[in-house]
């Protein structure tokens, strides 16, 4: 096969850190080329170079035998690249059709906007992705999953030569993922589109990819045909060590009831939810996105109000008015959306880590630098946070390390109950294993953990018990020994 895109000794430095170091590999025309690596391995940097967002410090990109300088986003588009970034917000106040045609001259008829043409084309696109939406619907009325599909649809519409998808399935349900896969395969077959696919989900790589390139810590490791490698081999190549995903089954659950909720109701979000959480137990909340799991956690944390229902902690009935109140009752929350609900972008790594435990480093009303630095060092060691300078912005960290900062923030406050909403969302294999180990160790200390997760293997491996929800109602409960992927799925879909 002819090399289509050639990366030649690409190096990118940000200040003192090297994000990419001498990376060279080629991409063939019309293939699905997967890019694998942990967070911080340099995948995003490489994508941003293709997208013209940043320029490499050294090295060249050749396309069809000619060197090309991709120094602007416009130039990247001109060369045929379309990048679907992980988190690029759409304009919430505008319609689906307007978002898709934003900035495109195709939407104009002379001086005026051609609404009917845009709506017609958008409808075709919506049908292709099997979305039951109207082109004139405002994007703010869409779910996160629908929004991410709209982003992909937008890129697909303009028939790029090279489509780059960065973690496109992070927010999607299984059905939506299958539809997206069909579209990707169709593009490849009918239009000969070259696809660069970035994902943490190795099963997707196995299903969709033709070839796969692995990066680790900014270095090129290997490129191979997907048919030549197994998932285990990929994991080993990505992390450079063997990871034992099949953790020993060990339960720390006791008989002491930490939390008891009865008949929690909140409008259409959830109805008559009742369960108990034992000291040292990891309780899973399974179900599809939108089943009401996150809503239950947010209500327990006092972020939203309950219509009715009783909550008691260690036998005492409590009324949780707001998050500060929840914290006083010994509850912690690791939210699903790190960027919006947990991290303060303007503040440093240290400040973010100590947001909840600031009181512990204050003496006489003043923050003690020594105590604060000491606590931070302790956190870095305990939770293996990889940070250069803790006074840098928290956004300078990779996703996994950001999550560890959020975890450190809560566990340092010695909670009785820790609520975790998708605690491994958007973080890499290595960091996931570390998060699992942390959750197990706090369960061993007697903290009760409630975990919402859409990743079944994660629920099965970690939880002592799994409660499954479907459309706001609890449809089943499984003990560890009963829990299989199939059993959870049956309850989640409310079949039998």
């Amino acid at each position: 096969m002819e090399p289509y895109i050639e990366f030649k000794n690409i190096t990118k430095k940000f200040g003192g850190t090297t994000a990419l170091s001498n990376v060279s590999f080629t991409i063939h025309k019309g293939e699905v080329h997967c890019l694998c690596g942990e967070n911080g391995s340099g995948k995003s940097t490489l994508i941003n170079i293709c997208g013209g967002v940043i320029t490499p410090t050294a090295g060249e990109i050749w396309m069809e035998g000619k060197p090309q300088k991709i120094n602007t986003i416009q130039k990247s588009g001109h060369l045929g690249f379309a990048v679907v970034h992980q988190e690029v917000p759409l304009c919430m106040n505008m319609s689906v059709a307007h978002n898709i045609f934003m900035g495109s001259p195709e939407s104009m008829k002379g001086l005026f906007i051609n609404e009917s043409y845009m709506n017609e084309k958008t409808q075709e696109l919506l049908d292709m992705f099997k979305l039951k939406l109207r082109p004139t619907q405002l994007v703010e009325t869409l779910s996160i999953a629908e929004q991410s599909i709209i982003q992909i649809a937008k890129a697909v519409y303009f028939k790029p030569k090279i489509l780059i998808l960065d973690e496109p399935t992070a927010a999607l349900t299984n059905d939506q993922r299958d539809i997206m896969f069909k579209v990707v395969k169709k593009l490849k077959e009918e239009q000969g589109t070259t696809i660069i696919y970035v994902s943490h989900r190795l099963e997707e790589v196995m299903e969709l990819g033709d070839r796969v390139t692995i990066l680790r810590d900014g270095h090129y490791i290997k490129t191979d045909d997907v048919s030549n490698v197994t998932m285990d081999q990929l994991v080993t190549l990505m992390v450079g060590r063997d990871i034992d995903n099949t953790l020993p089954v060990e339960s720390y659950a006791t008989d002491e009831v930490l939390l008891k909720v009865e008949n929690l109701c909140q409008g259409r979000n959830f109805q008559n939810v009742s369960f108990e959480l034992k000291r040292g137990e990891i309780l899973g909340l399974g179900g599809f996105v939108g089943a009401g799991r996150t809503e239950v956690l947010m209500a327990l944390f006092g972020d939203t109000k309950l219509d009715s229902g009783e909550i008691s902690i260690m036998g005492n009935p409590v009324h949780i008015k707001n998050p500060a109140d929840a914290i006083r009752h010994g509850i912690g929350l690791i939210p699903e959306n790190r960027r919006d609900d947990a991290l303060i972008a303007e503040m440093s790594i240290k400040q973010n880590a100590q947001l909840v435990v600031l009181k512990d480093v204050i003496r006489g009303g003043l923050i003690q630098k020594k105590a604060s630095d000491g606590l931070m060092n302790e956190m870095i060691q305990k939770y293996a946070i990889k940070a250069g300078d803790v006074n840098n912005s928290v956004m300078s960290l990779s996703g996994g390390n950001q999550q560890k900062v959020v975890i450190a923030r809560w566990i340092s406050n010695n909670p009785t109950i820790l609520l975790c909403d998708e605690p491994t969302r958007g973080i890499d294999v290595g960091a996931k294993a570390e998060v699992y180990a942390i959750l197990r160790s706090i369960a061993a200390q007697g903290i009760g953990v409630i975990m919402v997760s859409s990743e079944l293997p994660e629920l099965l491996a970690l939880c002592d018990r799994i409660i499954v929800m479907h459309e706001g109602k609890v449809t089943g409960e499984l003990r560890r020994e009963e829990a299989t992927e199939e059993a959870v799925m049956r309850y989640a879909a409310a079949i039998g």
Binding site: G16, N322, A342, M347, L366
Partner: protein
Amino acid sequence: MEKSVELQERKKRKTFREFGVLMVLAAIVVVLSIASPSFLNPINLINVVRQTVEIGVMAIGMTFVIVSAEIDLSVGSIFGASAMLAALIIKSGADPTLAFLASIGMGCGIGFANGFLSTKARMPAFIVTLGTMQLFRSVAYGISGGQSISAFPEQSLNSWVFQMGGNIGPIPVQVIIMGVMFVIAHVVMTKTKFGFDTYATGGNKRGAMLGGINTDRVKIVSFMLCGALCAFAGIISIAYLKSVPTTAGTGREMDVIAAVILGGAALTGGRGTILGTLIGAIIMSVIKNGMVLLSVPAFWQTGFIGVVIILAVLLDTWITQSGKNK
């Protein structure tokens, strides 16, 4: 080796984020000292710092409000109305201490109203404080009957309140007071839970709230602090001028906001420092002083200030950016 040096340099730049605006101040000072020989005269310099006091003290409060991601347009009116209240109380022959307390209380109260309406009543602070700006400007006119208040009773002028308008040697007392306030404010902003919570609230309100911070309270307290400091600035002005015109503080909100923004604060919240605000306030009074020294015609002075503000922020952005990209 090379790496560690680079790291150290980056750290230095990081810890000194007021570098850009300080360079802007230095540039203006250099230009003025060349253009006007009397600029560097110690008497003139002391005068410049004294003229910084009112804007500076008000800008401290505004820094808290802006860092918490709000805005207060009513500061000029709070300054005017509370100064007028104090002046009327002193004029009536009552103890100036009472006037001081009443005035600070009024500032706090207006601040509370601003904060309460902007948080609990969920109105944009821009609208709320636009309203209170108009309201308390009227109050200043109304309670004074449109008259400037001056000629205070002789025994009142001996009170400690009026000592704040005097000098210790060549140094105006108000400059010392401002200095102390900036030090306290800096400590509060960088070393206390309230300062921490203010940055967190302005940086990501929802994140802060889910971290257990009472974000509404942080904002209300910031507004109250701002109101109290504006009233305090009003008292200092009475102590110095021994009179209060009905228009006192009109248009002052723009100078105060400009000083805070020049100092590096972001109107979107979460960013800004007390030291930066001090430098910003000094830039404002240096420019005003410079225009007098260079006899810029009065009609053109505000226009000139506008241009300098834009250029200064541009220069600061440019210096900060080029520092980052290195």
